[in-house]
């Protein structure tokens, strides 16, 4: 059956907020998907001209080249403090940070918790892939028990290396937080949910509702030693049970456990 002669129209193309440049991310790395979701949210809220992004140290250190808004590169872990400085100086701008698990939950734990508890009107996009990617795959605060990494070569032993941190659950306990949701990008269904969550977080910021954070379960095929498709499967089978998806706090809505 041939295609009809009716004119076809574009139903999917690059968002305006995403720079038209190749990225340095590994093949199949889900950073690219999340970057796109953020860019789509910015486009749909028509706030590119007012947005200022803060990028971390990690694989996404060069995110300043990938978004078409003003960008600031922050020291490792300190993006929430940098974002606080930006937002306090320019309360009408839209400010977001983009951080990995080491950045947000290891070295930056203090900055993360305090920006959240102060209720800073910023949006944090937290990429949880259970590993320190840029430096070659070491243990992260979110590495699962038993997971093999460069610094847990025999598998993470909770007796010596402690337990992972569930960031969404932890931050949901703080009164200053307006909205926390954990999503994943391993399937079309989950990507759609992630897009809605990210857009809602930005919307809450434009409505000055307070601190919003979206934790995005992501893959690191290179350091997990899996091909990109198998990496998505690993995420579904291992990460989702430990880090359940869902809304952990939404001050507009009572959230039932």
């Amino acid at each position: 059956m041939s295609n009809t002669e009716k004119k076809m129209k574009k139903v999917f193309s690059r968002p305006n907020a995403l720079a038209d440049v190749p990225t340095h991310y590994c093949p199949g790395c889900t950073h690219g998907i999340v970057h796109r979701l953020i860019a789509e949210a910015i486009d749909e809220l028509d706030c590119l001209g007012d947005t200022i992004g803060v990028c971390p140290v990690g694989c996404s250190v060069m995110a300043y080249d990938y978004f078409n808004c003003d960008m600031i590169q922050a020291p490792h872990g300190r993006a929430p403090a940098v974002a606080t400085g930006v937002k306090r100086a320019k309360p009408d701008n839209i400010v977001f940070t983009y951080q990995g698990d080491g950045d947000l939950a290891a070295i930056g734990t203090g900055e993360t918790v305090h920006a959240a508890t102060r209720g800073e009107n910023i949006t944090i996009i937290f990429i949880n892939n259970t590993t320190y990617g840029m430096t070659g795959g070491q243990m992260a605060p979110t590495t699962l028990p038993g997971q093999v990494t460069q610094t847990t070569p025999y598998g993470r032993d909770t007796d010596t290396a402690g337990h992972p941190i569930r960031v969404s659950e932890m931050l949901a306990t703080l009164d200053g937080v307006a909205y926390v949701e954990r999503v994943a990008v391993d399937s079309i269904k989950n990507i759609n949910r992630a897009k809605k969550a990210i857009k809602k977080a930005f919307e809450y910021q434009t409505q000055k509702k307070g601190f919003t954070i979206i934790e995005v379960l992501s893959t690191c095929p290179t350091n997990w030693g899996l091909d990109p498709v198998k990496a998505l499967k690993w995420l579904e089978e291992n990460m989702v049970p430990y880090y359940p998806l869902g809304v952990y706090k939404d001050k507009e809505v009572a959230v039932n456990e």
């Binding site: 059956m1 041939s2 295609n3 009809t4 076809m8 129209k9 574009k10 139903v11 999917f12 193309s13 690059r14 995403l18 190749p22 990225t23 991310y25 590994c26 093949p27 199949g28 790395c29 889900t30 950073h31 690219g32 998907i33 796109r36 399937s187 079309i188 990507i191 759609n192 095929p221 091909d227 990109p228 498709v229 998505l232």
Partner: protein, 68 residues
């Protein structure tokens, strides 16, 4: 009813799109590599494309445009 355009130079041959295509009409190029040395995605039966855009939604490199 649907058509995709692939930026062969942007594609990193990760295979995520191939995995989600409901019509199973995508594959990696067998005898060609792009300038970066990657095999890239090729649609081998465009007539079957329904323009669902799942391939594009899965692509981390925004290498796919979709029309319907």
């Amino acid at each position: 009813m649907g058509r995709i355009t692939v930026d062969e130079q942007r594609c990193k041959g990760c295979g995520l799109c191939i995995n989600v295509c409901p019509k199973k009409i995508l594959k990696l190029s067998e005898d060609k590599l792009n300038d970066k040395g990657y095999s890239f995605m090729v649609c081998f039966d465009m007539d079957e494309c329904i323009g669902c855009a799942r391939c594009a939604m899965m692509c981390p490199d925004i290498a796919i445009e979709v029309e319907r």
